[in-house]
Symmetry: C2
Subunit: 325 residues, 2 copies
């Protein structure tokens, strides 16, 4: 279905205004602009930035098939029960939200399909290097600015960029399952460092208490922090443990505010993001610099093993840009 | 164990020379330099570049627990049977090579532990954005230059960077398992585009023939290419199907050479790599530009919502670098 003429010809400013008034199709278009980048994305970033800061972001990450999406669906219900609006960004090629139902895990997001205060968006995982790391915060900023109290970012907890994206939330929830040694996997994949909360999902299965114990032991061994990540056992399909998880997320949110940690984290995030954007801008400039005959000639010299790629890059950059020394 | 004094004080040139003579500790140190980047990494890149081009690289990717490492171990045996040397780069936090044995999958790499013509290296998946995408080709270049006929790169087939890294090999093998809808997952994660060969591993399990059929049907539907990726069923723990897989890899290698596709791919790879290195260099410059009071002031203005991050990045870059317009 193509959008009505009013939307099709709307400027970014008009679209952002409509999205802030609750128009879902306008919101979808604003998100597309933000994800696509370029001048449209720039315009959106500038338009939404003044309105942001009200949303609490929750990153949920874990192995494929660990039941993240079912948990997210249950959390949507918790937020709605409290009268709050929740948006979900699914950054996971195997997420049922993006169409890939695995392991018989059926998502119950259809419960929320007609609810105007719930918004679900799946992010494409393809695209250029660093794509997700740049586009996900842009999408979060949009959802924040249009008034969602909660923005959930669901990512698969495998892969460098995906773990970073989940770790950039206010509250990061790491989901593991009993039995598969997931607790140890989580440790290896760098998930221990980013977790504010652990969930042992599918806690009806054998080994759930072992998984809880493993996680608690790892936490005992890690350097003490002001907030010790709680470990919550859930069975998302029956909603067992979900109220406890929601309470723990809310407690973490309160802790962040009361301790001043929220401001610290957001400042660090602005720092990281600014750095990423600077790199992205330089990336664009590099693409321009490399689009020409000089690039072709240098590639040939690399292939002929006359010059190594790093020296070739220097040659390209130095003649293009003499001011940098 | 710290290296002998002769190694500890050796220059990159001496280390590369020793590594090319077969000194494994020297090789390990050269790889560390290459992975760490900086001046040492640069020196290594320049030293090894003239010697490269002889190795055939094989990317092996698939979901965690799909049995990639057991397959790799079996392929090592195949290469050794033919009297060739094989190196393995494990880019997977859940790989048994890096210590994380999951699902009872025991690696049999110990078979090869005392074999001087086999070399196994696990790559750290943490570090800065784009890290693996830059450091993995550097490590491959080193292993190529010291004379391994085969270099295998094992990555988990989930995650943007990880898929790209596996796709940058001469021959890319995508491993799926029966029953979990992995074939459909593979399609979604962009694995169909990069696969030169499919392996249905754990083919002793129910659903193996369905998985083969699903993959063949997807291949029927995709646009015809000169090389149609074969689908091989294996049971890596019993080595069933492994000789067929090895034969298929060897056939693909011959096809690449005979069709001229190998040269085309390597040229494209040099292009991509040069682009990545240019971006990496610009990244370094950005870090320098952002290490100062001006950055702090801009961050504060972003936090105060006076300026959006993109505008802040422009301000930072334009005053730092007036020559770029």
């Amino acid at each position: 279905v193509s959008p009505p003429a009013s939307l099709r010809n709307a400027s970014p400013a008009e679209l952002v205004e409509l999205a802030r008034e609750g128009d879902r199709r306008a919101l979808a278009r604003v998100l597309s602009l933000a994800e696509k980048g370029g001048p449209g994305g720039r315009a959106v970033a500038a338009l939404v930035h003044p309105h942001g800061g009200g949303a609490h972001t929750v990153g949920i990450t874990g192995a494929p098939g660990s039941g993240k999406s079912t948990l997210v669906s249950a959390l949507v219900a918790c937020a709605r029960d409290e009268g709050n609006r929740m948006a979900v960004l699914a950054v996971d090629p195997s997420s049922p939200f993006t169409g890939g139902a695995i392991l018989g895990d059926r998502v119950r997001m259809s419960d929320h399909a007609l609810d105007d205060d719930v918004f679900i968006r799946s992010m494409a995982t393809r695209g250029h290097l660093g794509g997700l790391a740049v586009t996900t915060p842009e999408a979060v900023r949009v959802l924040d600015a249009v008034g969602f109290e909660w923005v959930v970012i669901e990512t698969v907890g495998v892969g460098q960029v995906e773990v970073e994206v989940a770790g950039a939330a206010d509250t990061t929830v790491v989901v593991v399952n009993p039995g598969w040694g997931d607790a140890i996997q989580a440790n290896k994949a760098g998930l221990m460092e980013i977790a504010d909360l652990f969930v042992v999902n599918k806690a009806d299965r054998p080994g759930a208490s072992d998984a809880v114990r493993d996680l608690e032991q790892m936490l005992d061994l890690s350097s003490p922090r002001e907030w010790r990540p709680p470990v919550v056992a859930t069975d998302a399909t029956s909603s067992d443990g979900v109220p406890e998880l929601w309470a723990a997320i809310s407690r973490h949110r309160e802790h962040l505010v009361a301790s001043g940690e929220l401001a610290t984290r957001r400042a660090r995030r602005v720092h990281d993001e600014l750095q990423r954007i600077v790199v992205e801008r330089l990336h664009e400039r590099a693409r321009t610099a490399m689009d020409g005959d000089r690039m072709d000639a240098l590639e040939q010299r690399v292939l002929d093993r006359q010059i190594d790629p790093w020296a070739a890059a220097d040659e390209l950059l130095d003649s293009d840009d003499d001011s940098q020394g």
